[in-house]
């Protein structure tokens, strides 16, 4: 499907649960409420005409001024050669969301990365622990207000003059 046809089809499929961005530059994306997140992803992945079986990229972005973290999933279909960007927003303090690992196994590691770097936890995730930073690291580096600790295991984190 072309991207316009796909957008029309998804609008018909999901009804009033969708919100489209339609920006002036860059990619168009679909925003859904965080409660519907897992179900909508499940629908889009298994629907015959969408068949978005490939989770291309899954990441989060911190927006402190809105007090929200945005999760972005880039999905794609090899058979239909079309892709869709799905987003949701969750609050920064109680950063919890449903896991997508049952739908796309690739999400297991992407969610671990989001947990490590942005501090978002995922319900029912099979193996949620830090992936890139050491286990005893403090803080979530990709949050905009992150401050680095002064020493880590006796190594100074700034180079002495």
């Amino acid at each position: 499907m072309t991207s316009e046809a796909l957008i029309d089809y998804v609008k018909g499929l999901l009804g009033d649960k969708t919100k489209w961005a339609d920006p002036e530059a860059g990619d168009n994306f679909l925003t859904v409420a965080s409660e519907d997140w897992k179900n909508i992803c499940q629908t889009l992945a298994t629907d015959k005409k969408c068949s978005l079986t490939y989770l291309r990229n899954f990441t989060g972005t911190d927006y402190p001024e809105d007090d929200e973290i945005e999760l972005t999933a880039h999905t794609f279909s090899y058979s239909e050669k079309h892709g869709l960007i799905i987003k949701t927003r969750i609050s920064r303090e109680a950063a919890v969301c449903d896991t997508l690992s049952k739908i796309w196994p690739a999400a297991i590691w992407y969610e671990r990365e989001i947990f490590d770097l942005l501090g978002v936890s995922f319900n029912n995730h099979p193996d949620l622990r830090r992936i890139l930073m050491p286990e005893d690291w403090v803080g979530h580096p990709l949050r905009k207000d992150y401050k680095q600790q002064e020493t880590y295991r006796g190594i100074p984190t700034t180079r002495p003059a």
């Binding site: 002036e24 530059a25 860059g26 990619d27 490939y54 291309r56 972005t61 090899y78 196994p105």
Partner: protein
Amino acid sequence: MTTVIRELGDEQRELVLNMGPHHPSTHGVLRFVLHTDGEVMRKAVPEIGYLHRGLEKIAESTTYPGYVPYTDRVNYLEAMFANEAFSKAIESLSDIEVPERAQYLRAIAGELNRIASHNITIGCITMDLGAITPFVHLLRERETINDLIEALCGQRVTHHYVRIGGVAYDADDNWLKQVEKFLNHFEAIIEELDNLIVYNEILVKRMADVAVITADDAVGFGLVGPNLRASGVDWDLRRDMPYGIYPKLDFDVPIGAGEKGTVGDCFDRFVVRVRELKQSCRIIRQCINNIPDGDIIGNVSRKIKPPKGEVYSCVEGARGELGVYVVSDGTEKPYRVKWRSGSFSAMSIIEHISEGLMIADLVAVIATLDVIAPETDR
């Protein structure tokens, strides 16, 4: 971590072994925790992050052109592709036109880089499975490519050649002749490689039918590039979502056929890479014959301020889809940059496929999946 014997009850026990991060066959700093029953593995759990350099956070405090040198380090074996992916993202966000000659030069440099990267991969696969000679032969060829690329842009490993809007330096006719001369020499080496090592009895027995990845698993776990094609999924971004000059070029996409065993086994992943060498040579030859004269960089101002918006751009690197997701807030610096790399997803499938493999097979799996630390960790 020291070795541990874990009691599982019912007189069942398992031995927990540590492999890496310093291990000669893990290609850089990768670590595995192996749960084994004698020589057979129950599972191998990859641990990554030993080369996590925070490239995504650095982007938030760097200007767009200033970030391009950092993209070299996303994967030092295929720096051209990371340069290109990032440049392509900014070009599509702020509508920058890339001159045709620059697109040809990107393709030539990119395919040379692909050959250089595959040389290391193929050499490492054979070296990990016990044959050191092919590795040294391929390193020798890689040195020639390094010389060519150095003549083009002055760097051997981290090129910083592809810039936003074009490329940094022009190539003269003499350089193109040198590349052609290298291709004449290298195509003979590919033939030699087939006779020397590809169908070697020991190598085939170590790889055929080992760690089969089905097409469904490959798509589900997000494998890309040669790993995906080895599982029988016919997909190449250069052909199916064409960018740059690739629509004008004629080349084949080798896919796994189960030549010595099952589709998607280690041997398929190995042989797909060997076949890709020849296609890269074909692409470079066509580019050299058709390259037009003209500018090498488009009309780009020193300060790049893309409009507010976001974009995901990807290119077909040596390890498959190398993508970058850029969020712009209208200032000179990106608001968020995220790299999507082939090795990250290739690493995540290892735990799933490792059950029942021998420890020695794991070495073949790591080598043929072509996992490389900077790409998994970024």
